[in-house]
């Protein structure tokens, strides 16, 4: 069996000092929301770890997730995160193409059977036998099932691979489903988000390398360290929410004062993600800091859950029309039954019988 060297050996080759590596581990610790003291321990393990082989399959997706990852801001991602793994197949990033590319995937699957990490972005279309998305003439379903067999674990990157995502939006013409709908017998971790935060992708990889297993997951299969809290739990506008101070439009006094965006449709309260603390673009900020509410992009069904600008408190369907129709039917029924009652009453009166409440249609 082919083996990759340890990370420590590789770093030594490149002349990266232990202190520099410690610093990198400090960054990882923050990223993974581990206790700050853990950096030293992480460094120890990582240095001894063998670099795992990684196969990345891209299905029905927009490449936003890869874009997100390659913009990850950790200390020279290219030299360290990619030093920590051996990315053996990624059809967007690799130089090889055609048969050569497919061969490297097959080789990695053979050489590291049972040990490689399978990363997937994009959903898998099932309609018409899966013809809506194919690579090298094979359907996504076929490729996934084959690659899943020898994977130690599967990382579903992005909301499409995790939950179906935009391709699954009503009426779901391609019959898109998530990775977890197909693979049932492997550990799967969902790194949802549209796209997911790059630091979360690298953080999960670092966790896998450090501890040799996937981190603790929530009930939707997402790493708790990043999805354990809602945007709302960590939102710096939260005090305004608690005081009931809301921006009513995107340009009113409240908006200028930085008040809560709840009434403008913010889905932060029901959205689990790390945006409010990890932030985007190298820590520059996150959407709410830019004055726009959260869209809920890391939650299942966010693509079909009503308008981005409807407050969470408001209904997502037309209630007035239904209530109006119900009122008409109710009124009609009341009038009709009352008429019947009256007729009954009259008849009984004429027949000199007693009428009790029980006789009336109540």
């Amino acid at each position: 069996m082919n083996e990759h060297e340890t990370l420590g050996a590789r770093l030594a080759q490149q002349g990266i000092s232990r202190r520099a590596f410690l610093k990198f581990c400090a960054a990882m610790t923050t990223m993974m929301a581990l206790p700050p003291g853990a950096a030293t321990a992480i460094a120890e393990t990582l240095l001894k770890a063998k670099r795992p082989s990684v196969i990345w399959l891209s299905f029905q997706e927009c490449t936003g997730c890869t874009e997100s990852l390659t913009r990850s801001h950790s200390p020279t991602l290219e030299s360290l995160i990619f030093d920590m793994i051996s990315l053996d197949y990624h059809h967007t990033l690799q130089a090889a193409s055609g048969f050569g590319a497919e061969k490297s995937r097959e080789d990695a699957m053979k050489d590291f059977f049972g040990n490689y990490l399978l990363l997937v972005d994009g959903s898998i279309p099932l309609n018409e036998g899966g013809v809506y998305s194919t690579i090298a003439g094979r359907t996504n379903l076929d490729l996934l099932q084959e690659a899943a067999k020898g994977a130690a674990a599967i990382v579903a990157v992005g909301s499409c691979a995790s939950f179906g995502g935009l391709p699954m939006a009503n009426p779901n013409p391609t019959g898109a489903v998530a990775v977890s709908d197909i693979v049932k017998d492997k550990p799967i971790i969902n790194i949802s988000g549209c796209p997911p935060i790059p630091a979360v992708i690298t953080g999960v990889l670092a966790h896998y390398l450090t501890f040799g297993e996937l981190p603790a997951l929530d009930e939707l299969g997402r790493p708790q360290a990043f999805y354990g809290e809602t945007i709302h739990d960590r939102c710096y506008r939260r005090p305004f929410y608690d005081q009931g101070k809301f921006a009513k439009t995107f340009d009113d006094e409240g908006a200028r004062n930085g008040w809560c965006l709840y009434e403008l449709g913010c889905k932060g309260p029901t959205t689990h993600n790390a945006c409010a603390t990890t932030k985007w673009n190298g820590g520059a900020g996150f959407p709410i800091e830019a004055g726009h509410g959260c869209l809920g992009c890391s939650e299942p069904n966010f693509w079909d859950a009503g308008s981005f600008y409807t407050p969470l408190a408001a209904p997502t369907a037309n209630i007035a029309a239904v209530a109006g129709a119900a009122a008409l039917i109710g009124a009609g029924a009341a009038v009709a039954l009352s008429a019947a009652d009256r007729a009954k009453k009259k008849k009984k009166q004429q027949a000199h019988e007693k009428l009790s409440v029980k006789d009336l249609g109540n």
Partner: protein
Amino acid sequence: MNPQELLHWLRGTGLQLAAAVFVLGMTYRMLHLALLGRKKNLAAARGAEWGPGLRTVWRRSFVMPELSARGKFTVIAGYTFHLGFFVTLFFLSQHIDMLRAVFGFGWTALPRSAIDIAAILSLAALIALLVHRYIDPVKRMLSGFEDYLSWLLTFLPLLTGFMLLRGIGFDYTMLLILHLLSVELLMVAAPFTKLAHMFSTFSARWYNGAVAGFKGVKA
């Protein structure tokens, strides 16, 4: 079904169903009540109907008669609950968002501290009323299953709503699900239980006043 899908259903189809049952049931009951028909009173009217009718609605709602200690407790706690319920229902900003989305217009919300006080008073009054209902022998004898059910159906929306605002117990999604669920239950049950008094109270009071007014009696 994951929590997000359940929440989406409760905000859409679920709410539509609940609103349909509520409105249909209530219009039917109210209109049926009005159309039951009163026998034409052949006596000469000694006074007007409308004026005294409305006056009675007003008087019975806001003027406190002389009462026994038991009566006083029931009335005071009862009013506290109803007032608190009314204030939280119509003056919490989130509820106004909801009403605005349904009816197309809204109004100014009360500050959160006022809502908090109203909700706590209302909850406390409901609990006190339940305890009193249980320990007072007369009330206890008069109470049946439906009374306790109505109590629970009213209590749950208030409780879950308060927990939601304060983030107590569960995460926001779960609390919002529980709150919507309890509200929709209340809406579905209201037309078929004593809770229908939320509308019929006023017509009944009006009727009492109107009858007395017709006879020239000051009710």
